[in-house]
């Protein structure tokens, strides 16, 4: 089914639902999922409502198409550019000039915290405004539509990225911030818009260089701090000779744990909230840029960018639950059993079949960064519990893909494997883009914010029944 046709179909379905149908006719939707190679595509084929399914069986061979270098050029929003989304949804600018906007979190009192990891390095046009990284607090107006007050919570940080309030619940005492090299926590009370005291170093000695985003999150009981550390390189091509006793190495560094300059990278690490009791929680997750703990279950999820240079359509990126002690493949394996012979240190046939399957496979090179779960309260009731992710967009693909927000339906807290084009329209022709989505965050009122770091904009997505 062509995307436009599908869109009309979905609108009809949603209308029927709005007019009194109690549930979306899931069987009808299931028939309209584009699958396999048809699900893979580029920005020309994106349309609001298109539901996609890529499975393990659809993974194409490496270099079936050549590896492309197609870096997007970034531009200001063209005058005729329009954001597209599904019927009943509205996308409005919530905040502008938030240069380099990355991760978004909401404090219990409703303030919006945004990490501006590299505010000066992504600005478009002549207006250079170089600064080190910072965290900005945006206080929403009473109607939630705009920002009524802006403050800098803390500045002069090296690549601040992930943020988490601790302890979980209505009265946090600290804001944890993940950045290259360390995790700090700042004293925090509801309503603070500026840091009120010196930070405490919770984790030090984290690696510098390579994949630099360090996302953090807490288990719902507040007992565990999770920290994502991406790989140093694309595929560990120069990794030194393997440790002499691989079994002993894996006991300390986890199944499939890499070594050399990749030691304990491509991992999710776990700590006590005071930074002690460090352990390797999961391995082989190339770059978990969006670490999110599912609220109902406490399950850790990662939005992950898979490896480059294998052609337009392999291997898929993924969003997945990440289980303790499990190995997700990098660098030797992708998607359970596809061997990659490029890593240094020789092949690892012993790991074939030992990599855990990911929940949702996403068009290769889409670059999912942030993710969140819909708590309900505004979007269609059937979407409560669904996951959403921001796709930063491709460079290693002949035609651009990604550059959109997707919805990943869940059933009984499990992602079912499909994903749906939800918000898009940031491309301006084959080369240029005016928005690269970075993070999605649902607010208490059920609306959704998302950030983009080309022009430094935060958008708010709201819904009313059409």
């Amino acid at each position: 089914m062509r995307p436009t046709t599908f869109r009309l179909h979905l609108q009809r379905v949603l209308c029927a639902w709005a007019l009194g149908a109690t549930t979306l006719p899931l069987t009808l939707l299931a028939q309209d999922v584009v699958k396999g190679k048809d699900a893979m595509g580029d920005w020309h084929k994106d349309a609001p409502g298109v539901m996609r399914l890529i499975t393990h069986d659809d993974i194409v061979a490496p270099l079936e198409s050549p590896s492309a270098a197609n870096r997007s050029t970034t531009v200001a929003k063209p005058s005729d550019a329009q954001i597209k989304t599904m019927a009943g949804f509205k996308v409005d600018v919530f905040a502008s000039n938030v240069d380099g906007a990355r991760v978004i979190r909401q404090s219990p009192n409703g303030d919006i915290f945004v990490s501006q990891s590299r505010p000066g390095n992504v600005r478009v046009g002549n207006g250079y405004q170089f600064e080190k990284g910072k965290i900005t607090v945006l206080r929403p107006s009473a109607d939630g539509r705009q920002v009524q007050k802006t403050e800098t919570f803390v500045a002069d940080l090296k690549d601040p990225y992930g943020m988490a309030f601790y302890p979980p619940g209505p009265n946090p005492q600290w804001l944890y911030v993940g950045m290259q090299g360390q995790v700090l926590r700042y004293p925090y009370r509801n309503g603070d818009m500026k840091s009120m005291g010196e930070p405490e170093v919770i984790v030090s000695g984290l690696p510098i260089g390579g994949h630099w985003t360090r996302d953090v999150g807490f288990s719902p009981d507040g007992q565990t701090l999770y920290l994502a550390v991406g790989s140093a390189s694309n595929i560990a091509i120069d990794m030194e000779d393997r440790p002499s006793d691989l079994q002993a190495w894996q006991k300390t560094h986890g199944l499939g744990g890499a070594w050399g300059n990749e030691t304990d990278r491509a991992t999710v690490l776990a700590y006590s909230p005071d930074g002690k009791n460090r352990r390797v929680y999961a391995t082989g997750v190339r770059n978990c840029s969006g670490l999110t703990v599912q609220p109902n279950t406490g399950v850790v999820f990662c939005a992950t960018n898979e490896r480059d240079l294998l052609g337009d359509n392999t291997p898929p990126d993924y969003v997945s639950s990440i289980k303790e002690g499990h190995f997700y493949g990098w660098p030797w394996i992708y998607h359970q059993d596809h061997e990659d012979l490029r890593p240094g240190g020789g092949p690892r046939p012993d790991l074939k079949g030992k990599a855990t399957a990911a929940d949702v496979l996403i068009q290769p090179h889409s670059a999912p960064l942030g993710m969140d779960f819909n708590p309900g309260g505004m979007f269609p009731a059937q979407w409560t519990g669904d996951a959403f992710s921001a796709l930063h967009g491709s460079w290693n693909r002949a035609l651009h893909t990604g550059y959109k927000i997707i919805r990943m339906p869940a059933k009984a807290n499990q992602l079912v494997g499909t994903y749906q084009d939800f918000v898009m329209g940031f491309t301006a022709g084959e080369d240029a883009v005016w928005g690269r989505p970075v993070d999605v965050k649902f607010l208490k009122d059920g609306s959704m914010l998302f950030s983009e770091d080309v022009n430094g904009t935060i958008y708010r997505v709201t819904y009313s029944k059409p």
């Binding site: 590896s67 492309a68 270098a69 197609n70 870096r71 050029t73 590299r118 000066g120 390095n121 250079y128 170089f130 080190k132 090296k158 690549d159 510098i208 260089g209 390579g210 994949h211 630099w212 790989s231 140093a232 390189s233 694309n234 595929i235 091509i237 120069d238 300059n261 480059d308 240079l309 490029r342 460079w395 290693n396």
Partner: protein, 183 residues
């Protein structure tokens, strides 16, 4: 430009290196002038510098999402050949000709002369300090971006650059970037 050495000629005609020059050209320009002024000119750049950067991108010591991967697309033993092949290409014409008539402040000129104690090229096209990149004629946006990355420690694959630049003001660095772009 000095005539290419034998090694450079061989590099430029090596099939892999020629292929890779073409791949580099996707972003850095088919004729050496990048489409986007935030990207560096690499044609005619110091071979020693280019090789070190390619190695540092592979290891993650220099960080750029695209280059970290692209540098892996060249076999390690061919990095040197690729660097030489790129270095043997002619440096493209500087774009910022409109700035060449600008009269530079004595402070900027003094700053630039200090930089050139390492970055100036000798007659055979190599920098006075081997491995220091050519700055003259480089894209201003790129130069400023990199100088700020040294200051902010977003780039740290040289021990000297961060300390040398850290006390400079943004305006001083902006003037320097325009100075070199127009020379």
């Amino acid at each position: 430009m000095a005539p290419p050495t034998q090694a450079q000629t061989q590099a430029a005609t090596s099939p892999t290196a020629t292929l890779n020059i073409h791949v580099c050209g996707e972003c850095h320009g088919e004729t050496g002038a990048p489409k986007d002024a935030k990207l560096p000119i690499i044609w005619g750049q110091s071979a020693a510098y280019l090789e070190k950067q390619l190695r540092d991108y592979r290891s993650g010591q220099r960080e750029n999402q695209i280059m970290n991967s692209m540098a892996e697309s060249v076999p390690k033993k061919e990095l040197s050949l690729l660097a030489q092949a790129l270095a043997s290409q002619p440096w493209p014409q500087p774009k910022l000709s409109d700035n060449s008539a600008q009269s530079w402040s004595s402070a900027t000129q003094a700053d630039a002369q200090f930089c050139l104690t390492c970055h100036a090229q000798n007659t055979s096209g190599e920098s006075l300090y081997k491995g220091a990149p050519r700055l003259n004629g480089q894209n201003a946006d790129y130069l400023l971006d990199q100088m700020m990355a040294w200051v902010n420690q977003d780039r740290s694959n040289s021990e000297v650059m961060g300390p040398l630049l850290k006390n400079k003001k943004k305006e001083q660095l902006q003037a320097l970037s325009l100075y070199f772009a127009s020379h």
